[in-house]
């Protein structure tokens, strides 16, 4: 099975010498949907920052869509980065612009126009379940739909891998289920998802299970146990 993200023997220490990761290893198969679960402060956000090459690890390897991050030139990394969507812990959307204008802004900023841009926009609207809300301004949306808009933005322009940092954190249980359904739909469309969460309960109810098989497509892994994996 092809791997979308492979983290091997990752080691990271803070400036104060606190060892956050020491030999961390795990993988996410292509078209898989993996949750990394850990309590606040366990390094979930840091892990995603390392995968996005925003923070360098002390040692270890990260393979992103089959390419070793350490060996990628800035130009090659930019090419790969275009195919990786990211939803941070506090997602930002353009409050004063409509849902449609939000998506068009990102598409045009990434250099896409015309038919190709229209197709990408329609796909993002469908996958993020934002149909019927195209003309609503972002500031008029509730928390769930704002997160869906953040997901739609992250899907543009040609995302094959989606990284989400604790997207369920600020949602009510019902909203969380709604967002999870949206993420499932995105995953079914062929987008690999690596997300983090502080609590595994809702995810276990949704059918995600702990597995030691690195090729398991719907896997729930716990950050504290990853070092030993």
């Amino acid at each position: 099975m092809r791997i979308a993200v492979q983290v091997a023997e990752l080691r990271f220490a803070t400036e104060d010498g606190v060892l956050v990761f020491d030999g961390l290893s795990f993988g996410v198969p292509r078209e898989g949907f993996v949750w990394v679960v850990g309590p606040p402060g366990s390094g979930k956000t840091l892990l995603l920052s390392i995968i996005l090459r925003e923070v360098p690890p002390a040692s270890g390897q990260v393979l992103l869509l089959g390419r070793n991050l350490r060996r990628l030139s800035p130009g090659s990394f930019r090419e790969i980065r275009r195919r990786v969507g990211f939803v941070p812990e506090s997602p930002v959307v353009l409050e004063k612009r409509s849902v449609r204008e939000n998506l068009e802004f990102k598409l045009r900023a990434m250099g896409l126009r015309g038919e190709q841009a229209d197709e990408a926009k329609e796909r993002a609207l469908d996958l993020a379940q934002l149909r019927g809300l195209e003309e609503f301004r972002a500031e008029e949306l509730d928390s769930l739909h704002r997160l869906r808009l953040a997901l739609a933005l992250a899907l543009l322009p040609e995302t094959g891998l989606l990284l989400c940092d604790d997207p369920l954190r600020a949602l009510e249980p019902e909203e969380g289920k709604g967002l999870l359904a949206t993420m499932e739909q995105i995953n079914r469309a062929g987008v690999t998802i690596l997300a983090t969460a502080s609590n595994a309960a809702m995810l276990e109810q949704a059918g995600f299970s702990r597995s030691s098989d690195p090729n398991h497509p719907r896997r729930l892994v716990f950050l504290r146990e990853l070092v030993e994996e």
Binding site: P91, V92, V93, L94, K106, R113, L153
Partner: protein
């Protein structure tokens, strides 16, 4: 390139909300250029209105003399002792007198120092006639504090221009902070995203220099008589000022833009 133009246009549109500050930024740079010019042009000694005598030799040139030859001649004569300056005039120009044919205007020192120049010129080929002329010029009586005033204005306006640049760029970043964050999440580099704010600073510099040049040319065409009699140095300075205004204004505006925080 197309995406950068789109981002720049979007950033400029967001900054339309601080149009008043942008106008103040432009005017502060115009003030820097104007006070800098005044500092150079105003006589250093100050004092009251004075009457001075200027002496010229007008060299009417042979039509067969090439432009390269005229330039070489001007360069050579300009280095002679007793010569203050040499300028070429086309027919129709008005300074220092109405010119009827291609003429080299040689300004010589008043008194005896310039007396030998006419004799040396008489032996040069390509000169049809040498016409000496003198004129009396009234120099504007500048109070001695005028230069100090210009210096103070220069320092204050420069400080104002840099502060406004910093403030506008910082506020511009706040007005565009959500867009900045969305684009950073998409992996675009901070350096690339800084581009639109630098384009805005560049445009401010260009507009400021344009206004300054317009003022200078307007002054030259509308008030040349007054300028000739009161601040003749300004006329000599205009070509230099036109050349220097754009780079100086752009450097000041970009400096203001660079001072703003990166994120």
């Amino acid at each position: 390139m197309r995406s950068f133009l789109f981002l720049t246009r979007d950033y400029l549109r967001a900054n339309a909300r601080q149009a008043g500050f942008l106008l103040a930024w432009v005017l502060s740079i115009v003030l820097v250029l104007t006070s800098g010019t005044a500092l150079v042009v105003l006589p250093p000694d100050g004092g009251g209105t004075t009457q001075i005598t200027e002496r010229f030799l007008l060299l009417s040139l042979d039509p067969l003399v090439s432009e390269a030859e005229v330039a070489r001649m001007g360069w050579e004569v300009g280095g002679w002792p007793g010569v203050l300056g040499v300028t070429f005039r086309f027919p129709g120009e008005q300074e220092p007198v109405p010119i009827e044919s291609r003429t080299l205007v040689v300004e010589i020192q008043p008194g005896g120092a310039g007396d030998g120049v006419a004799a040396r010129l008489a032996g040069m080929p390509g000169i049809r006639a040498i016409t000496p002329m003198e004129r009396s010029v009234t120099r504007l009586g500048m109070p001695s504090g005028a230069r100090i005033g210009a210096l103070v204005a220069l320092i204050l306006s420069l400080a104002l221009a840099l502060w406004l640049g910093f403030r506008i760029s910082s506020r511009g970043r706040r007005l565009w902070s959500a867009e900045w964050a969305v684009l950073r999440q998409s992996g675009l580099s901070p350096l690339y995203l800084r581009g639109p704010s630098l384009v805005l600073a560049f445009l401010v510099g260009i507009v400021a220099a344009g206004i300054y040049v317009g003022l200078l040319l307007g002054l030259q065409s509308l008030g040349s008589e007054i300028l000739i009699h009161h601040v003749p140095e300004l006329l000599d300075l205009i070509p230099l000022a036109l050349g220097v205004a754009f780079p100086v204004a752009v450097v000041i505006s970009l400096l203001g833009g660079f001072l703003s925080p990166h994120s």
